[in-house]
């Protein structure tokens, strides 16, 4: 349960940041998501190389008043939900760097 999780933005999406929020549309099923500022911070940190816990620590806890444990739990839920729609990729190891 304590293994690090890594997250990467799928290439099969369309996304645009609008102010503090981000709109994402799945290219598979056209499902539309709006990410709030916290979720946007996680989304933008999802480079495939940084562990989710580190993203939460550096991008969420550093900018929003929230405890790491709570923020990480919420981030994992978010990541799993986005992964269900194929717009975020989840893995137990860093994703290979793409050229």
């Amino acid at each position: 349960m304590n293994r690090k999780q890594y997250v990467a933005r799928s290439s099969e999406i369309a996304a645009r940041r609008l102010g503090d929020e981000t709109m994402i549309m799945s290219a598979h099923d056209s499902t539309l998501f709006t990410l709030n500022p916290v979720a946007t911070a996680i989304w933008e940190g999802a480079d495939g190389a940084t562990a989710l816990e580190d993203i939460v620590r550096t991008r969420v806890c550093a900018s929003f008043e929230v405890e790491l444990g709570i923020a990480l739990r919420d981030a994992q839920r978010l990541a799993e939900r986005l992964a269900e729609h194929g717009i975020l990729l989840l893995a137990d190891a860093p994703f290979p760097a793409s050229n």
Binding site: A14, R16, M23, M25, S30, L32
Partner: protein, 260 residues
Amino acid sequence: MGIAIGGIPIRIRMDNADFLRMLQERYAGFVTAAAGAEFEFEIDLAAPGLISAEEDVRVRLHDGQWSLDRGDFHAEWNAASARGRIRQTANPYSIDAVLRIVHTILLAKEGGFLVHAASAVRNGRAFIFSGVSGAGKTTISRLAPPDATLLTDEISYVRKQADGGYCAFGTPFTGELAKLGENIQAPIDSLYLLKQGSENRIKPVDTVEATRALLSNILFFAEDAALVRQVFDAACEFVARVPVYRLTFLPDTRVWALIV
């Protein structure tokens, strides 16, 4: 014959003169010369019955060939040659659906879209009234004053112009009014998100809400990642350029005093 919607003529070929005549009546005002049409479909009429196993609309692109399926039709269309074939029974609804799908594909490539919305031209400017079924598209259309020209009460046609602005075009895609729009175009003034209420009120909508609302009302069928991105970008760019308001209205003619 040609059917030109949004200024894009599509040539329709078939042997059945009766069906062609029916199409000419149905699309009156949008019928044009077939010569010079960049896009072409040949219609094969089939005996009554199921044409495709797909219950819902499915639109797929494979090796440059679009396939469009619904229970009542199967159409194929080559993206490179812009030529295709529709197999359907002798009804006007199948070709109507195919035309809508084809136009959504064509428009997406140039930053435009079809959207569930009524639209009308007043004082040389087009106003778009978007909403889901029951939001008031037909009502606002029915209440339009004599100096407003209805483009559609159901499906609005939006094209991006060379200067980055947007134009709305009349369409033959009708809703409850069952009245074809006028085949004219005008630059878009604003987009209104419809909501029936207890007073007439206009309120600006923020970018996120406007984009979300627009995307939820854009007609889009294709299971194609590139096209999804184009539609998404088109909606974002439209909202960045065109004012979007929430229009709460009472179902009487006074609401049109706000639309100028």
